[in-house]
């Protein structure tokens, strides 16, 4: 069952959240979501519907996890090693890089540099979410572990605001799907065959296209998004994977900093 996606209306700035206000709060703790400044609705009121809309994405994550698990098993990581990697790294790019390094018997230092380059965008994503994370440092850190490209984009509510409940719930669903898929793939091997035949690789761009709208609230924002796309397309063939996102993010930050 699907429901229409309503456009995100422009919002007013949210007041700062007091540190410690909901330390240790679970995903369903309403205290971490400040009241809507205008009509009293909580900003996360749309979370369940948004989460339902992302259900196909969780299925795609499960299948992708299975593909990774099968490859990891074939690379000699074993079921335990494959699942441990998915639980502790929870990053497909870092995990595939690790597999490649295992197969080639590469240097651990090379792997470290590769992962730092691949995932440096998490620094920018973390910085954009950080102002909205309540509680003590360990609590913010735990929640930040659930940041992925998908959960971060899913949680965006326009105007640079983030829905923490959606970040947490979406992140946990994606986490569960990825780990479960890895376990099934590592255990059952090639039951899914070539995952490309399922067409799931086409779902991810559509997901991000659908969420891009919440960022494009002004002509300036559209210009920044276009700059990010151009930078990524130009750099992608020239630099290691992951770097185009970082450069695009830095360009966006620089353009956003200008008055």
């Amino acid at each position: 069952m699907v429901e229409p996606v309503e456009p995100v209306e422009p919002v007013e700035p949210v007041e700062p959240v007091e540190p410690g206000a909901s330390a240790g709060a679970g995903a369903g703790d309403a205290s971490m979501a400040p009241e809507h400044p205008r009509d009293g609705r909580r900003p996360d009121a749309e979370s369940p519907r948004s989460l339902r809309n992302a259900l196909p994405l969780f299925s795609a994550e499960l299948i992708d996890g299975m593909a990774f698990g099968a490859l990891a098993r074939a690379a000699g990581m074993g079921v335990l090693g494959s699942v441990t990697m998915s639980v502790t790294s929870y990053s497909s790019s870092a995990q595939y890089a690790t597999l490649a390094m295992v197969i080639r018997r590469g240097s651990p230092w090379a792997l470290l540099v590769t992962i730092l380059l691949l995932n440096a965008r998490y620094l920018l994503m973390g910085a954009s979410v950080a102002p909205f994370l309540p509680g003590r440092a360990w609590s913010r850190g735990l929640r930040a572990l659930l940041i992925t490209d998908e959960s971060w984009a899913l949680a965006h509510r326009g105007g640079g605001r983030y829905d923490l409940r959606l970040l947490t719930l979406g992140g946990l669903c994606l986490f569960a799907a990825w780990i479960t898929g890895t376990g099934i793939g590592a255990e059952a091997g090639g039951i899914i065959g070539n995952p490309a035949r399922l067409g799931l690789d086409a779902a991810y761009p559509v997901f991000f296209i659908g969420l891009l709208g919440s960022y494009l609230s002004s002509r300036r924002a559209r210009g920044i998004a276009a700059s990010g796309a151009v930078v990524a397309i130009l750099l992608d063939p020239l630099v290691p994977p992951g770097v185009p996102f970082v450069v695009a993010g830095l360009v966006g930050t620089a353009l956003g900093f200008r008055r």
Binding site: E3, V5, A60, A94, A144, V231, P237
Partner: protein, 105 residues
């Protein structure tokens, strides 16, 4: 510790560090409003960059059947996204149409 487990530990440490470093170190009070606005602007650029790299093959000469069917599937999903305004239906349309194209093309 075996070589494989060493790499798993490195992967975990690097991935976790990148995710939590900034959220642990920063709170809202630490960031100047102008910096917050700049970071918010970076979101649009990163999402657009993700879309661009997912759609455009890194090596242009590799626009093969897989890439072409993906583009067509994404097109179908985007049409659904804008006409029906349903994310779930759009994702399913993109995946199914791509799978069908690959099966019968």
């Amino acid at each position: 510790m075996s070589y494989r487990w060493l790499l798993i530990v490195i992967s975990a440490c690097a991935s976790v560090s990148l995710r939590i470093a900034v959220p642990v170190a920063l709170t809202r009070r630490d960031l100047h409003p102008r910096i917050r606005a700049a970071l918010a602007a970076s979101g649009a650029a990163i999402v657009a960059a993700l879309i661009a790299t997912l759609l455009v093959p890194a090596h242009r000469q590799e626009l093969d059947l897989t890439a072409l069917t993906k583009l067509l599937g994404v097109g179908a999903g985007t049409v659904v996204l804008h006409t029906r305004r349903s994310m779930a239906l759009a994702l399913i349309t993109a995946a199914v149409s791509t799978a069908l194209l690959r099966a019968f093309w």
